[in-house]
Symmetry: C2
Subunit: 622 residues, 2 copies
């Protein structure tokens, strides 16, 4: 299937693998090292392999303690060449992420990237010779699972003398491997970075895989999988599968930007597929290129491994599946990813949180679809989060967490959530801190850049979780070594279990919440104690503004907000709040009224003299 | 490709065509009538057809005036059998919509549904005999366009003696036909109902079609399209295309509900495709069934007609394309439709509105994806909107609009938007009406169930448009014969042109809008005059509640709202609003202060004594 392309640079962006001209089984083989393992190896779905070869590449140096190794798991069509070893090398598929000074900094970390079992880029797969027959396995290659793939990666780690990985990192199918590592070998990794992945495919994603596989197995050249040295192989079917894959890797927005303007202008490529529309020539090009470098039997086996991956269809099963994990977690999804949609990452977060696993999660705003984690567009968020996460792991592994967190230079006065309209006063924090028993587990809703959480950590609290809506604030928290979950609390706290925290803090956030009663109810479901601070509408100054001047109280004036642009949407007094507590049968355990202008605690007529109130509340009859 | 299915009822829902066992070219032929036309007919993309036969079915009776004919345009895989003629008939593909007492009531309307040109269910298509050669056209069948399809439909209307259609109705590809009818034969239809359609496909949808066509043309049995009587034909390719199509017709949510629970339990069907997962057996079933009743060459020609349909890639081109249309419009999209996503219907709405075409639009809340318009789930909204629209058209065609609108029984006191927290007072309306010059064109933002618009219509205003967020309210408006556009004004008024209306009314809605300045700026961009009414926070009673009692003013108390659940998010006084006008350089032309409790106009200290204010504003320097 010869192919010429006029302007290949046009197509580079969405297929990091398409940029080299010397693909055909050349690039990884050029750079890869090999490890051979003698079997037999029994596989999860039955069948065995008498021997296994693993192609892999490494970057950087393992440190003396052996504590800086990072394993990278590639996705469906990736390989061991994750990055250039030298500037003049062929590009790697994740050069933006891995290299000197990159988020996964090869000057700090020892990076290992193996080609997966079942692949076709050096590691044993259907195209390898079965030593028992002297011929390629073909369709006789056993069905493999993500677990099998991970087991082989573990063999390689043993061979390399890496007892404990600093982190396992991967996206998509690679993310499935990360999940499997964490539950299968919990003591072998300190951190897990699972990107654009899921507990199992959606039925929609599964359906696309099935159509792709049907295109391959019903291609007459498939010949029941024994096509090696016997005709061209199922190139049409594989190309169709790849075309379909490409549609699912891009978001609709990304496709619009890429193809809409020159819709009727196909690139002049030589192909036996339809070339009528611009997007048609792109798909034909991607399909034809793919068959030059990928084996159809590997495609069948690896997509099936992905389709069979299933950590459970209920949150109970999923929670149980992840229960063995002992690592720290970073989960990343992308807003426009419809193949591995964000709600699936959120299901993972829920399962991890339910077991009190330390997890940071961000749903990265992106237009790039599933491919986003391979593209530079959103790297400032997702790359930086990975960088911060690895930094933290390395510091913790070196038993220097305290020193690490002190070193992070963040001005605590800036630690405001995006919905907070007040300058933070030490007094406000002090009050909240006093209402939190020593050692309590704390959930901080609308944690901003983590000022309160950082203070709690210094006070010795261990189990601390933040919830925040602003990705930049989450990044700041990650740099401070705090665990934060990206979430809109207006939608409830469904990912948290009943009574999961000793205290749930809602600091200067309730007034920005639409669904007040729901949030309060959720807060008291999740926390044994709720601590709520809010501005008091009935403060003397606000009363006067309305009563005397006939103006809406400018409660956000200090932060530059007006009635027409304040993030706050609920306005209420201490009295209003108390009446709501009564109506909701909420027990007010303690309350502190503050005058932050005078920096004092108010005891005389708080509803008139306090501008901020802090309430400790709980469910009645607990 | 024999096929047996254990439990076919399981699969009925998403393929209305799959429910009969007697499909193979039998059903439509059993019920269809035929019209023959002698050519030659020149086609848009070149080529010609020497003769054309049209298979069609009709329902109901044409009335004496010939004013009750409704043409239904089917989608890609539909046919003329839109509904049962008799209860014992095979099911039609739109039985839920067409029949006695159904939304398109065959006791009131004369319904015609022809099979499209290029199809394979009785109308001339690639499988028909070319009289010039005595053999089937096959791949020599010319490329056809939606315009060609519509031209043939028009021939049929001529033959049936229907000079003017009451309405043309269609979804998906059928919606493209509706658009083409309206611009090609503007004097031949009174109304256009375009459902789940677009000005052109997204690049994503186009890409899926291309993969499907590639699967067909690269199937070895395709034989360059001359497969009739010559082997099985490209059944594998066509089945793959259909599988792919099915994925795109369903929403992800719908697929989850349908397949997730029994993911690993495929139905036992005989098939040469993969049967491993529940969804896999569904796709195999749909694919195998489809090739029994559909011709691959028709699939190629009809998908290409859809892909080539393009009313322009800019709003200017689109507006120009729709400019000739003279009919009333009803546009419907479905929230979970990702093949023809709602934004595409909104682009059509924008183009129509830009030319002051009368249009009602609703983005029907649905979980059913693109298939929603074939399914009963959301019929209470979309079916009722179609019913109301046809009623209105029939009344208007009978020149009895006035009588019609008077007959509609709607309590005007209920005509509140969902964001209005006030009981409506005649006084409030009266004020607004007085500020609207006689005969002015009016846009009512947050029009609710259309109370103000109905009063304006009675006063003789012709150009009246409402904007509303609540589908139920839109339905009520449609029943009153009012044009309303489903839209969230917080996102701006982008679909309206500068100075498009004499007056834009924002009645008791500004307080429920987050983005106040943006909405005001948009209002004055679109309208020469803006009329804004809002509750006055500085009304004496509210001042007292805060100043004396220390409580948040209960401005929504009459409607049962509290500070924690009111739809209102902005609280401001007359003075605040005036200051904002000054800041935004807005000219206050007139203002009226009301005390709706006392039912009087307030002249003495309005900011203290009025609970509602009505402002007429404009851009300064107009």
């Amino acid at each position: 299937m010869a192919l010429k392309h006029k302007d290949p640079t046009q197509f580079d962006l969405s297929d990091p693998f398409a940029s080299s001209d010397s693909w055909r089984h050349a690039r990884p083989l050029r750079y890869a090292q090999y490890a051979h393992f003698q079997g037999p190896f029994e596989l999860e779905c039955g069948g065995s392999l008498p021997e296994i070869t693993v192609a892999y590449e490494t970057y950087g140096q393992l440190n003396a303690e052996g504590s800086n190794a990072v394993l990278i798991c590639h996705a469906l069509s990736g390989d061991s060449h994750v990055a250039r070893h030298h500037p003049e090398d062929d590009p790697g598929w994740w050069d933006i992420m891995v290299g000197p000074g990159k988020p996964i900094d090869t000057e700090r970390y020892f990076v290992i990237c193996p080609n997966v079992l079942g692949g076709c880029r050096g590691t044993t797969g259907p195209g390898s010779i079965d030593p028992r027959t002297g011929r390629p396995y073909g369709a006789d290659f056993p069905v493999i699972t993500v677990g099998d793939i991970v087991d082989v990666q573990r063999l390689l780690m043993d061979r390399l003398g890496i007892r404990r990985l600093l982190a396992v990192v991967g996206g998509s199918l690679g993310g499935h491997m990360v999940l499997e590592w964490a539950r299968r070998y919990p003591d072998r990794l300190a951190g897990a970075v699972a990107i654009a992945t899921s507990a199992r495919l959606t039925s929609q994603a599964l359906a696309f895989d099935i159509v792709g596989r049907n295109a391959i197995i019903r291609d007459p050249h498939y010949q029941n999988g024994q096509y090696y040295g016997n005709g061209p192989g199922p190139t049409v079917g594989l190309a169709l599968a790849r075309m379909l894959g490409h549609i699912t890797y891009l978001s609709r927005e990304a496709m619009m930007k890429k193809f809409d303007a020159r819709r009727l202008e196909p690139h002049q490529i030589q192909t036996l597929f339809e070339v009528r529309f611009n997007v048609g020539s792109y798909l034909a090009y991607q399909g034809e290129r793919f068959v030059e470098r990928f084996d159809a039997n590997s495609y069948l086996r690896l997509t099936l491994a992905m389709d069979l991956f299933d950590l459970g269809d209920t949150s109970e099963k999923l929670t149980a599946a992840l229960r063995p994990a002992q690592c720290r977690w970073l989960l990343l999804s992308f807003t426009s990813d419809w193949l591995f949609p964000p709600f699936q990452s959120q299901e993972l977060v829920r399962a991890l949180v339910a077991e009190n696993k330390p997890v940071t999660y961000c749903n990265v705003p992106s237009e790039c679809g599933h491919d986003a984690f391979l593209l530079p567009n959103d790297l400032p968020i997702y790359g930086s989060l990975i960088e911060a996460f690895l930094n933290r792991l390395l510091a913790e592994e070196a038993r220097s967490e305290a020193a690490f967190s002190e070193n992070v230079d963040v001005d605590e006065d800036e630690s405001l959530g995006p919905s907070s309209i007040y300058r933070h006063h030490r007094l406000d924090y002090d009050c909240i801190l006093e209402l939190i028993p020593p050692g309590a587990s704390v959930l901080d809703l609308g944690c901003g850049t983590g000022g309160l959480l950082a203070r709690l950590r210094r006070r010795g609290h261990k189990r601390l979780v933040g919830v925040e809506l602003d990705p930049q604030a989450i990044l700041t928290c990650a740099r401070r070594g705090l665990d934060v979950i990206h979430m809109d609390i207006n939608r409830g706290l469904g990912i948290f279990a009943d009574d999961q925290f000793d205290c749930v803090v809602l600091s200067q956030t309730l007034q920005a919440v639409t669904n007040v009663k729901h949030v309060l109810a959720e807060l008291l479901r999740v926390g044994k104690r709720g601590i709520v601070s809010f501005p008091n509408l009935a403060y003397r100054r606000w009363r006067e503004e309305l009563a005397v001047h006939g103006r809406a109280p400018r409660m956000g004036a200090a932060a530059g907000f007006h009635w027409y642009d304040t993030p706050n949407v609920r306005f209420f007094s201490i009295r209003d709040f108390e009446e709501l507590c009564q109506e909701m049968n909420i027990c007010v355990e303690e309350k502190v009224a503050l005058n932050t202008e005078l920096d004092t605690i108010v005891t005389d007529d708080p509803n008139l003299n306090a501008d901020v109130a802090v309430f400790a509340i709980s469910r009645r009859g607990r």
